[in-house]
């Protein structure tokens, strides 16, 4: 059975495309996470962002994935979700 088309079970009051979470208006009082995916020199980029955020008085937590070749381990995702309000991830080298 072709499962790629589903009929909407809702009152269709929300857009079919799921919206991304709204960006915060300001980082004031927020905790920002920086996720290093463990690609070479990603740390250079993230170090610079940390410097700039720290200069604004924003709390920064650093995280890194064991390897860029796989999705982040569940425990790491849960840890990040519990500890930060916003996450910045460097995707490429």
């Amino acid at each position: 059975m072709n499962d790629t088309i589903l009929l909407d079970p809702t009152a269709e009051n929300a857009p079919a495309q799921r919206a991304r979470l709204a960006r915060p208006d300001s980082l004031e009082g927020k905790v920002v996470g920086l996720l290093d995916i463990s690609k070479p020199r990603g740390n250079v980029f993230l170090d610079r962002i940390e410097e700039q955020l720290a200069a604004l008085g924003i709390t920064v937590n650093r995280y890194s994935k064991p390897t860029f070749t796989r999705p982040a381990p569940t425990a790491l995702k849960q840890q990040i979700a519990a500890e930060v309000d916003v996450l910045v991830e460097g995707l490429a080298d």
Binding site: M1, N2, D3, T4, I5, L6, L7, D8, P9, T10, A11, E12, N13, A16, R18
Partner: protein, 477 residues
């Protein structure tokens, strides 16, 4: 193809059908005698040399000709079908073709094969592609996602358990369970008060795991829930526990295989489980009643996944639906704003007086022993307990009246502050005898397995009657 097929003869055939192969040599003779259209349902060399042969790859022609068997022989005149036969029947083929010597060397008769249009899953696909049915719901393409079940979760359509992805074919199949038009509006679904069509009901029924034959019960339960007396809007929104619970009476319960026996209030029966769940999914998806949003329940109850069972009807006790005005032999649903299940264990009473007192004392716990005329309650009496009353000649009505008498309490004991408990009823009841339940607020249903001297209390919403919710019974049609 909206124009009718051409006049003359039409043969619908399948190459892998031995009877179609049997008649294949005769087709040349038919073509020589007049116009002949041959539709072949499978890709092959069947009757390839004839100019009128066409590979019906989409099966549209076969479907429009309402083909059930192959071979099928049809004669069209002036755009209308005038005769038809199927399989090989020498006399019929000769009569329809007008060729008196047709198939002389063939046997008198050979049955055919089933048409490809009727293979499982194909018929609904063809109806969606070529039929009149129009599903209006928005189509969501989830092809980019790994798994349709996960896509349903991601869109917030699930109660927490996996749902069956509502594909158009599944929804069409579900709609076969009712004669009602898919676009008919069943009612305004709270809390968002949006029109709920039969089609939306069917989509949510698919997701809940219903079979099409459950649709009449589900539609009746939804209509009952939408009656003003039931107060569904408030029930969805309340901080308290309740949610629609469905009790089914009458022949439909057996017809669709509902459970009224062992573990009747528990898991394991598809009809019980999925009808109750479908109603909850409609509340969630169509009405927008999601927990933590409009659904403000502080604790909720497990019945908010699903809560639906059938009464174990007994000739000696009037079934709930009949007590509530439905004619004997008819099927009906009763919706009740149920909380969870509280057991009554009494393994020692052998006399109805003792058992009734035992039940009455247990019923005092509904809402709070110090509250009265707040929530309704359903008393589910198991067969072993019911037998004690029935053998003593007690009708359901007599049991209810006895319980109501036993549950009268001196107001002073229930007052705010009495017994060192702040909760209680207002001071104006001080010198009165107070009933536990409002008139009509105690319902009795017989259900359960045949072993176990237990019954159960299902408390209702503490806002009962006109200020909140009253049970509603509706015939299943």
């Amino acid at each position: 193809m909206t124009t009718p097929p051409p006049d003359g003869l039409i043969v619908v055939a399948k190459a892998d059908c031995p009877t179609c192969r049997l008649v294949e040599p005769l087709l040349t003779e038919l073509a020589d005698a007049g116009p002949l259209q041959v539709y072949v349902q499978d890709d092959s060399d069947y009757a390839r040399t004839l100019p009128g042969t066409r590979y019906d790859d989409t099966l549209e022609h076969s479907w429009r000709l309402d083909t059930e068997f192959v071979p099928t022989l049809i004669r069209m005149e002036q755009g209308r079908e005038v005769s038809r036969t199927y399989g090989w029947d020498k006399a019929e083929w000769r009569a329809i073709s007008g060729l008196s010597g047709l198939g002389e060397e063939l046997p008198v008769m050979r049955p055919g094969c089933g048409s490809k249009t009727l293979e499982p899953g194909i018929a609904e696909r063809l109806e969606l592609a070529f039929g009149d049915v129009q599903l209006k719901s928005r189509e969501i393409d989830v092809s980019a996602e790994d798994d349709a079940i996960e896509a349903c979760y991601a869109r917030g359509w699930s109660d927490g358990l996996p749902v069956v992805p509502p594909t158009p074919v599944r929804v069409l199949r579900m709609l076969k369970g009712t004669t009602r038009d898919p676009q008919e509006v069943v009612g305004l679904m709270p809390p968002d008060l949006v029109s709920c069509t039969v089609e939306k009901v069917a989509i949510n029924a698919v997701m809940a795991g219903c079979k099409p034959e459950y649709m009449p019960v589900l539609l009746a339960a939804l209509e009952a829930s939408l009656e003003d007396d039931f107060g569904l809007h408030g029930l969805i929104s309340t901080t308290m526990f309740g949610s629609p619970m469905i009790v089914v009476n009458g022949p439909i319960a057996k017809a669709i295989g509902m459970n009224s026996g062992n573990n009747a209030l528990g898991q394991g029966n598809r009809a019980n489980a999925t009808i109750g769940r479908a109603l909850q999914l409609i509340i969630r998806n169509v009405g927008g009643g999601r927990p933590g949003e409009i659904d403000r329940a502080a604790l909720g109850n497990p019945g908010k996944y699903t809560f639906c069972f059938a009464e174990a009807e007994d000739s000696e006790w009037l079934p709930l639906a009949q007590e509530r005005g439905i004619a004997a032999g008819r099927s009906a649903v009763t919706v009740f704003p149920g909380e969870g299940v509280q057991g009554i264990i009494d393994q020692k009473s052998r006399e109805p007086e003792s058992l009734a007192r035992s039940m009455a004392e247990s019923l005092r716990a509904v809402d709070n022993v110090k509250l009265a005329m707040a929530g309704d309650a359903v008393l589910v009496v198991s067969p072993e307990h019911a037998r004690i009353f029935i053998e003593a000649g007690w009708s359901k009505q007599r049991l209810r009246e006895t319980l109501e008498q036993l549950l009268m309490a001196p107001g002073e004991k229930l007052l705010v502050g009495a017994g060192g408990i702040a909760e209680g009823i207002p001071a104006r009841f001080k010198d009165k005898q107070v009933p536990k339940f409002r008139p009509g607020g105690l319902l009795i249903v017989r259900a359960g397995g045949t072993a176990g001297l237990f019954s159960a209390i299902i408390a209702g919403w503490a806002a009962s009657g006109p200020v909140g919710s009253a049970p509603v019974t509706r015939e299943v049609r």
